[in-house]
C-alpha cells in the first residue's frame, strides 16, 4: 500500500472521500496504482475532464504514483 496526498479543485471537490477535508487529504492506493487508478478510486468518471498535477508537474493518466506524492486534480477551468 501507499498513501498520496490529494487536493481536489472547484467542482471536483464533490468526489472527496470522507477522510478528506475541504477536498484535501490522504488517499490509500495499491503499490502498482497509477494516476488513472487514482481517478477510479475517487470515483471520477472517465467522461469528467480533468488535469492531474503530481508534485508540481503536469502528469499523464498512466503515471505510477509513489508513496507521499502530492496530487492536484484540476477541472478544465482557466480563468478568462
Amino acid at each position: 500500500m501507499k498513501t498520496v496526498q490529494v487536493k481536489l479543485y472547484l467542482n471536483l471537490r464533490k468526489y472527496a472521500t470522507p477522510a478528506m477535508d475541504n477536498g484535501q487529504g490522504p488517499l490509500s492506493l495499491q503499490e502498482n496504482h497509477t494516476t488513472n487508478d487514482l481517478l477510479a478510486a475517487l470515483g471520477i468518471p472517465s467522461g469528467e475532464e480533468c488535469t492531474l498535477v503530481v508534485n508540481n508537474r503536469i502528469a499523464g493518466k498512466d503515471l505510477l504514483l509513489k508513496d507521499g506524492d502530492q496530487v492536484a486534480v484540476l477541472p478544465p477551468v482557466s480563468g478568462g
Binding site: L10, N11, T51, N56, I58, L74, V77, S78, G80
Partner: protein, 617 residues
C-alpha cells in the same frame, strides 16, 4: 429573401458637427459578418490607416455584431476599432453589457466617427435620431458620474453610456472606454479611450428604442437556442458561481499565473486568497449578466479600501485579479477590488495598468526607480497603498503616472537599460495574464495577435486544457502542454473561429459551453436566411484575420514583430508546473505561416489573399 438584420451606420464628423446615415452593403456583411470584421473592411477601404491614431481625421469605428441584440445566447457585444495610439497598429476592443444592444435597438449597427470637436461633446442616440450635445460640464467627471449626469439631463433612468473617464480625456495611452456606468464593462485594450479623448468626445449615450433586428426564421432560432442553453449553463457553472476569477487557483497550479511580473513559479496561498471564491466570500454582494447571457460571469462586490470604500462596484474578473494580485505579489483581495473600481471610474485598462505597475515595482526592486521619483511611495511588491496611488497617478497623468501612463514599451524607453528585461509586451500591447510557457500554443496566439499580445484572439489554453475540447474543432484531442507539435494548426484554427465572435457580437466564453462552428453557423442561418455552414463561417474568420494582418503589414508589421518578450521567450521559471518550459516559437512560426499561406517573413501571399477574396494590396 430579405436580410432583416441590417441597420444603418452613422458617419459622424465631429469637426463639422454633422452626421449622415449610410448603409453597409449585404455583401460586406456576408464576407466580414459585422462588428470588428466589417470595421476592418471599412477601415482598409478608407485608406486612412497611415494617419496618426490621435490625428483628428483618424476614424474610430464603433460596431455592434451581426447578431447583437437578437435572441441568441450572449449576443451582446460591440467593438471599438481603429488604429491604436498605444501600439500604432490595428486595434479592436470589444465589450458586452447592455449598451451595445441598446444602440442596436435604435436602428443603428454602429458609427464611424472622425474629426475633433472644438469643445467637449457627447453623442445622444434615440430611435432613428442622433444629437451632439455639449459636455463641458461632464469633462473631468468619472465614468459612473458621467452616465448618472446624462441620465438626469435627458430624463431617462435606463439610459446607457459608453464613456471615457479622466484617463481618456487626458489621452492616457492605456485608457479604455467603459460602458453602462456603475455596471462597468470595459472596452479596455489598446488605448481606444485616448482616441475618444483626442476627439473631445466624452460619451456615446443611448436611450433604448424598438428597432432591434428580427431574425429571419424565429422558430429555427428558438429551437437552436433551447438546445444550446441548458448545455451552456451546465458547462459554465463555475463561471456563474465565482466568475472568471474562480480560475486563479487552478491556473496557479498549472504554472499559468504571472506571479511577480512573470518570474515566480508557485504562489498557492496567494492564489487561494485572491480567487473568485475568496472574493465572493468576503466581498461579494451579487451576480451580473450581460444582455442575453445565460452564463452570468459578472460579479458585484463591496469596496472596502481606497477613496471609494463603502460603495458597491463591479467585481474583478480573472485578468484583473491576476494582474493586481499575482503579477504584483499582492494577496489582499480588497486592494484588487479597489484597484478594479478605480480603473473603471478613471477609464483605464486594468490589464495594461497592472502590467505597467509591475514594471515600476521591478524597476524599484532593482534601484532604477526610487521612492523620491514616486512621491515618496515605497514600491515594494504587494504594497496595496502604492498600487492604489499609482492607479490614480496613471489615470490622471500625475507624478510618475505621467511616464507609466504611456504603457510598458514607452516607459521602458524612458528608464533605459536594463528595464527592457522586465518588459512584458508584444507589438506594444501588454500581455494578458496567461503564460505562453505553460500552454505553448499561446506563444503563437500572442506573437501573431493582430492587436498585439492578446489572449482572446485564440484562447488556445482552453483547448489545451480541454475546457473546449479540440476534437470539437476536428483537431487532435491532446497536446503536450510544453511541446510544439500540432500547435500551429491549433492556433490558426482557433484564431479563425474566435475572429468570427467579435464580428457576430458573441461572447467567447460560449466555447466553455462547447459551442461549435456548426452551431454558430446554424444561429447565423436562422438569423439571416443565408446559407452558411461551419466551413464557410471559419473561412469568414480566416478572411477577417488576414484582412487585419494586411492592415498591419501596411503599417510595417512582419515576422520581426511576431515575437515574445525576452522574459517569456528565454527566461524559464525555476519552479511550478511550467518550470523549465520555454516555447519553441521559431519552429512553430514556420509551420504557422505555411498553414496561413504567408511568406516566411509573415506577409500574406497574393494567392492566399485571392482565395479569400481580399485585395492583394
Amino acid at each position: 429573401m430579405t436580410f432583416s438584420l441590417r441597420g444603418k451606420l452613422l458617419d459622424i464628423d465631429l469637426t463639422a458637427g454633422k452626421a449622415r446615415e449610410i448603409t453597409i452593403p449585404e455583401a460586406d456583411y456576408r464576407a466580414f459578418l459585422g462588428g470588428s470584421g466589417v470595421a476592418a473592411k471599412w477601415f482598409y477601404d478608407t485608406g486612412k490607416m497611415q494617419l496618426s491614431p490621435l490625428d483628428p481625421e483618424a476614424p474610430l469605428f464603433v460596431m455592434t455584431g451581426l447578431l447583437t441584440g437578437v435572441n441568441v445566447p450572449t449576443a451582446c457585444k460591440a467593438s471599438f476599432c481603429g488604429r491604436s495610439p498605444a501600439t500604432g497598429i490595428w486595434s479592436e476592443s470589444t465589450v458586452g453589457g447592455r449598451w451595445p444592444s441598446a444602440l442596436r435597438s435604435c436602428g443603428y449597427d454602429g458609427m464611424i466617427i472622425t474629426g475633433c470637436s472644438a469643445e467637449p461633446v457627447y453623442l445622444y442616440l434615440r430611435e432613428d435620431k442622433v444629437e451632439l450635445r455639449e459636455a463641458g460640464h461632464l469633462w473631468g467627471k468619472d465614468v459612473y458620474a458621467t452616465q448618472e449626469a446624462i441620465r438626469e439631463e435627458v430624463e431617462d433612468e435606463n439610459l446607457r453610456a459608453a464613456a471615457i473617464g479622466p484617463a481618456g480625456e487626458k489621452q492616457v495611452l492605456i485608457a479604455g472606454i467603459i460602458i453602462d456606468g456603475h455596471d462597468a464593462r470595459a472596452a479596455g485594450r489598446g488605448g481606444m479611450g485616448a482616441v475618444m479623448g483626442s476627439k473631445r468626445l466624452k460619451a456615446i449615450a443611448v436611450s433604448k428604442g424598438k428597432k432591434t433586428p428580427k431574425p429571419y426564421d424565429p422558430d429555427a432560432l428558438d429551437r437552436a437556442r433551447r438546445e444550446a442553453v441548458p448545455r451552456i449553463r451546465e458547462k459554465t457553472r463555475g463561471l456563474t458561481d465565482y466568475g472568471t476569477a474562480g480560475g486563479v487557483p487552478v491556473v496557479e497550479k498549472l504554472g499559468d499565473l504571472p506571479i511577480r511580473n512573470w518570474t515566480g513559479g508557485s504562489w498557492t496561498e496567494g492564489a487561494a486568497r485572491t480567487s473568485g471564491q475568496a472574493i465572493m466570500e468576503s466581498a461579494g454582494v451579487g451576480h451580473y449578466a450581460c444582455y442575453r447571457c445565460p452564463i452570468r460571469c459578472g460579479k458585484e462586490v463591496q469596496v472596502t479600501k481606497g477613496p471609494h470604500a463603502g460603495t458597491e462596484a463591479h467585481g474583478p474578473e480573472y485578468e484583473t485579479a491576476a494582474g493586481f494580485g499575482a503579477c504584483l505579489l499582492n494577496d489582499d483581495l480588497h486592494t484588487i477590488v479597489a484597484a478594479n473600481d478605480l480603473c473603471n471610474r478613471l477609464g483605464l485598462d486594468t490589464m495594461s495598468t497592472a502590467s505597467v505597475i509591475a514594471l515600476a515595482m521591478e524597476l524599484y526592486e532593482h534601484g532604477l526607480l526610487k521612492a523620491e521619483d514616486a512621491a515618496g511611495l515605497e514600491l515594494n511588491w504587494g504594497n496595496g497603498e502604492a498600487i492604489l496611488s499609482l492607479v490614480e497617478q496613471i489615470g490622471n497623468r500625475e507624478g510618475i503616472g505621467e511616464i507609466l501612463s504611456r504603457g510598458v514599451r514607452r516607459a521602458v524607453a524612458h528608464f533605459g537599460p536594463p528595464a527592457a528585461e522586465f518588459a512584458v509586451e508584444t507589438k506594444g500591447l501588454e500581455y494578458a495574464f496567461h503564460d505562453p510557457r505553460a500552454f505553448t500554443s499561446m506563444a503563437l496566439v500572442y506573437a501573431t495577435g493582430n492587436r498585439g499580445a492578446c489572449h482572446l484572439e485564440g484562447l488556445t489554453y482552453f483547448s489545451e486544457n480541454r475546457a473546449f475540447p479540440p476534437e470539437l474543432m476536428g483537431l487532435e484531442p491532446e497536446y503536450e502542454p510544453h511541446g510544439y507539435q500540432g500547435k500551429p494548426l491549433l492556433a490558426k484554427t482557433m484564431q479563425d473561429y474566435m475572429g468570427t465572435f467579435n464580428a457576430l457580437g458573441l461572447c467567447k466564453f460560449l466555447i466553455r459551453g462547447h459551442v461549435t462552428p456548426a452551431e454558430v453557423s446554424d444561429w447565423v442561418k436562422a438569423c439571416t436566411g443565408w446559407t452558411m455552414d461551419a466551413q464557410e463561417l471559419l473561412t469568414a474568420g480566416e478572411r477577417i484575420f488576414n484582412l487585419k494582418r494586411l492592415i498591419n503589414t501596411g503599417l510595417g508589421i512582419s515576422r520581426k514583430d511576431d515575437m515574445l518578450p525576452p522574459r517569456l521567450f528565454a527566461h524559464d521559471r525555476v519552479e511550478g508546473a511550467a518550470g523549465g518550459s520555454l516555447p519553441h516559437l521559431g519552429k512553430m512560426l514556420w509551420e504557422y505561416y505555411r498553414l496561413r499561406g504567408w511568406s516566411p517573413e509573415g506577409i500574406p501571399t497574393a494567392e492566399r489573399l485571392e482565395q479569400l477574396g481580399l485585395p492583394s494590396r
